[in-house]
Symmetry: C2
Subunit: 289 residues, 2 copies
């Protein structure tokens, strides 16, 4: 491990949110601190990264089929147009859909509101051997819930601790949680909202309420600052991803996920049978042969 770090600096270290020093307002959404410096270099990398993710995913899936309990959960958060959907498409696209589960969390339904805020999230955790992706998550309950005062301050204030306890429990049970905050500038958000409105095939993605949320950009920044700093733990770190450039955002999230899977090092299970005995059964004692 030490040897490897010496060779190539960790992508995760470049983006990890370190409580005490992290300041969301000082983060450049167009930065490219590590990795490729151009779209074409990123595209060349993407093929190799996709192939590696695919191999590691298959091993994780096999491990799960063999009784292993481990899984990975990638949580994506960010304001409207920050690129959560595009990231899923590009990062999860090369993966085998059978070993993948994407869950989107919208405004809670009435049924969901009758339970505690983690209830709907617990129901959609990845099964053993799978990679789960959350498009928004339980963090909405300390973001929109706080900014729009959907619950009393005392309520959202205690949620940071509940989230940390929940995520520690996940880690304990074999779920590796990786959280990426997609950070874009207000100007880039404006451009993307305009693009959605100008393209008839994209208008369904726009909601007039997006503008109301946009007017609260600074309140959201404050809410993200607290969520990221209070909940970037050893068990479940936050990564702040510069997301003004789509190609860089995709590269960064894919590599954060890749490093996570490499560290997990999933293993094909040892067969519980003797392959030679089974081959003999198939080749010599097979009634259909």
């Amino acid at each position: 491990m030490a040897k490897k770090s010496a060779r190539s600096p960790s992508v995760r270290d470049a983006f990890r949110v370190v409580p005490g020093t992290f300041d969301v307002t000082a983060l450049d959404p167009a930065a490219t601190p590590v990795g490729p410096r151009s779209k074409s270099a990123a595209a060349r990398d993407a093929v190799e990264v996709g192939a590696r993710l695919d191999r590691l995913q298959e091993a994780l899936y096999a491990e799960g089929a063999g009784g292993g309990r481990r899984s990975v959960l990638l949580v994506l958060q960010g304001v409207d147009t920050s690129g959560k959907g595009g990231t899923i498409r590009h990062v999860a696209g090369p993966l085998n859909p059978q070993g993948l589960h994407v869950a989107s969390f919208k405004k809670p339904t009435r049924a969901e509101l009758r339970h505690d805020f983690l209830w709907r999230v617990r129901r959609r955790l990845p099964e053993p051997g799978r990679i789960g992706v959350f498009d928004r998550s339980h963090y909405e309950d300390v973001l929109v819930a706080r900014v729009d005062r959907l619950v009393p301050a005392a309520e959202w204030r205690r949620r940071y601790r509940l989230i940390n306890e929940f995520e520690a429990e996940l880690a304990e049970s074999g779920v590796t949680v990786v959280k990426c905050f997609l950070h874009i500038s207000p100007e880039r958000q404006r451009q993307r909202l305009v693009a959605r409105l100008e393209n008839p095939a994209k208008r369904w993605k726009y909601d007039p309420a997006d503008l109301a949320a946009r007017a609260k950009f600074s309140q959201y920044s404050a809410a993200y600052q607290d969520a990221l700093v209070k909940c970037s733990t050893q068990a479940a770190p936050w990564f702040a991803i510069p997301a003004d450039r789509k190609w860089y955002r995709n590269w960064a999230v894919a590599n954060v996920l890749l490093e996570t899977l490499q560290e997990l090092a999933p293993r094909y299970p040892e067969p519980s049978y003797d392959p030679l005995v089974e081959l003999a059964r198939l080749q010599e004692a097979d009634p259909l042969h």
Copy 2:
């Protein structure tokens, strides 16, 4: 529609199970009744078919986001090594993972057995706007349950009707059900089982119980014959796919799905707002601009 059928014969018609004439024992697992005659021709087709599926899936997803209730459920059945996993990888691979949900049904758990046989299936139906894929399904309850006598004969016999009622109810509620039976020969199954045993990275896919099931090939054929004939309905037809050749199987299932989506003709929702008003708000009245 009539014009189009005159131009190109329907892929679905070539594979549809027609009760009264269908005979699973007369089906050639290596047949290529329509479509490409070679792997390379199929590969050329696959790019175009994948792109079309992707566009239709996005429209279906948008329709769902706009309040539409429709979804598609692709059910895959077939004996061990018939290629359910490979089909998912190839057919669902080009789709956007966000609009896709794959559910695998294994031996029922004790919790699942405490409910009626459709309970676990109902819980994993695709949400509106999504494409769901079932890797095995409620049909196991008239296949392995029958062959291995897991329930009394009177019990599995009544399930065909219950399944038809369930699937009619799904159609009624907006779920278009497409069921594909992947048909392979005993010899091809033997080859694939041997290949799994010979490759250490594939041994996890093999279970000695696969050989016990294989010894009951003819009982499974009889069970498939009944399931396909009794449950190929207008609302939820069965398609019997020759699956000895992987490239042909992938081509056939992709095109059955494509025709289904083309017939559905999902539509982008009309915006509930005035795009020009919103553009003006963003360009002139935006506090962050």
